[in-house]
């Protein structure tokens, strides 16, 4: 009797967890739909930017991207520096991300497939529809799926070019021009966020 009851509870729990786990492609499509709707709203650019920042905070793993972007340098930082970097990176990222997107009005993105790389990552494939001024653009999304209930975006790969990788090499260049001084990178990020 107990065995049966346990089996039923186990099967129900399993079914429920599958329902709750958010599929990476559905997550991307719902995120782009949300952003697309916002971008086509008749509100000021400043308001769009503020709302895009909220979407990014919910759907992008900003801290993870920040530490990836820093590369091996992060291993040499103490806890205080790591905390300061995470704060400055978030400000920089949200400004850069939202002002990039705010330039588009009503972008139409169609998700058409996905490739599970491992339990932590799925690549979701999508296309940004062509307009009169630019051709169709292929966009892949690196989704961090370690917590299946809350997938997060870690990278955007536009026509095969990774934005996170570009950012990482940009940060490396700033560090190498300043003898590896992390304070110089903090200053650059601060200047960007305040401009």
């Amino acid at each position: 009797m107990f065995k049966k009851l346990f089996s039923i509870i186990f099967v129900l729990a399993l079914l429920l967890s599958n329902v709750l786990a958010l599929e990476a492609d559905i997550f991307v499509q719902s995120t782009v739909d949300k952003a697309s709707k916002l971008l086509s709203d008749k509100i000021s650019k400043e308001e769009k930017i503020e709302k895009l920042k909220l979407i990014a905070k919910d759907t992008v793993d900003i801290e993870g991207i920040g530490f990836y972007t820093l590369g091996a340098v992060r291993k040499n930082l103490n806890d205080v520096q790591k905390k300061e970097y995470a704060k400055k990176f978030e400000e920089y990222f949200l400004k850069s991300f939202s002002s990039r997107l705010a330039e588009y009005t009503n972008p139409e993105i169609d998700v058409f497939g996905k490739e599970v790389i491992n339990e932590n990552y799925t690549i979701v494939k999508s296309k940004l529809k062509a307009t009169n001024e630019r051709p169709e653009i292929k966009i892949d999304w690196r989704i961090y799926t370690k917590n299946p209930d809350q997938p997060l975006i870690r990278d955007l790969i536009i026509e095969g070019l990774s934005l996170a990788r570009t950012q990482k090499e940009e940060f490396a260049s700033v560090l190498s021009s300043n003898n590896g001084e992390i304070e110089a990178l903090f200053k650059t990020l601060e200047e960007f966020s305040n401009k």
Partner: protein, 261 residues
């Protein structure tokens, strides 16, 4: 005589640049990894980059801005013609890379589009089911045969390159580009130097117009625009050499796994 000297020079430099007999996929990926490409002439490159940005501001950007408002059929026609013309360099490189079926398909595309497609204005071949492949050049061929990229280089007016790709492009001027041969190198009745240089300028304008918003956006949101352009150029070269746009083919995933620790 001069041709022989140039060929010997190219071969010697190519050997110095970093030749490795192996063309194993993983080695190809590692060698052409943007992070591995050396920055030997940063001062010169940054100065050259600044010059190119100045030229872009006063010439290419305004021209591209006017070009992009032309009707779509005109822009598509120009773009198709340039793509078709690039086959004359892609086909010999397909053969040099041992890609004979691609060479055959590209030859078919070139013949159909030049004739039925009226000098390449219309892409009839795609409608007939001929698959469109990536463009190839002599730099990619050297890479496929194991030559490393050497140092990163920004050429005044022409833009980003690497030591290997800059040296390999000399191949176009010593017989490797049939379009150059019939326009500049030899006098022919129907085409002249002007056609060659005009095709290069239009190609630059077409590229700038297609990437107009992306470049503006990138410039505005970069903390080091030079480094961003360098990274994007080298990533693009890497995927062209590997003939893959799949991030799992062009990027080592352990980079991402590392941040879990």
């Amino acid at each position: 005589m001069i041709k022989k000297i140039i060929l010997t020079f190219i071969t010697t430099i190519a050997l110095i640049v970093n030749v490795n007999a192996s063309s194993d996929g993983e080695l190809l990926l590692k060698k052409n990894n943007p992070a591995e490409v050396k920055e030997c002439w940063e001062g010169f490159n940054r100065a050259s980059f600044a010059l190119n940005q100045g030229l872009d501001k006063i010439i290419f950007k305004p021209v591209a801005s006017a070009y992009r408002v032309l009707p779509t059929p005109i822009k598509s026609g120009v773009s198709n013609s340039l793509d078709n013309l690039s086959n004359v360099v892609t086909i010999p490189n397909n053969i040099l890379q041992g890609e004979f079926s691609k060479a055959g398909a590209n030859t078919g595309r070139f013949i159909i589009n030049t004739t039925l497609g009226i000098l390449g204005l219309f892409d009839v071949a795609s409608k007939l089911g001929f698959k469109e492949y990536e463009k190839e050049d002599y730099g990619q061929t050297l890479a496929v045969h194991g030559t490393g990229p050497g140092c990163y280089l920004v050429i005044p007016v022409l833009g980003p390159s690497t030591a290997r790709d800059a040296i390999a492009s000399v191949g176009n001027f010593v017989g490797g580009d049939p379009w150059y041969n019939i326009t500049v190198a030899n006098e022919t009745r129907y085409v002249s130097d002007f056609d060659y240089y005009a095709s290069k300028v239009i190609s630059g304008v077409d590229f700038r117009a297609k990437n107009y918003d992306s470049l503006e956006n990138l410039n505005k949101n970069s903390i080091d625009f030079y480094a961003s352009v360098k990274s994007l150029y080298l990533q693009d070269r890497q995927q062209k050499i590997l003939n893959s746009k799949k991030i799992t083919d062009t990027q080592n995933d352990s980079d991402w796994e590392e941040i879990e620790n």
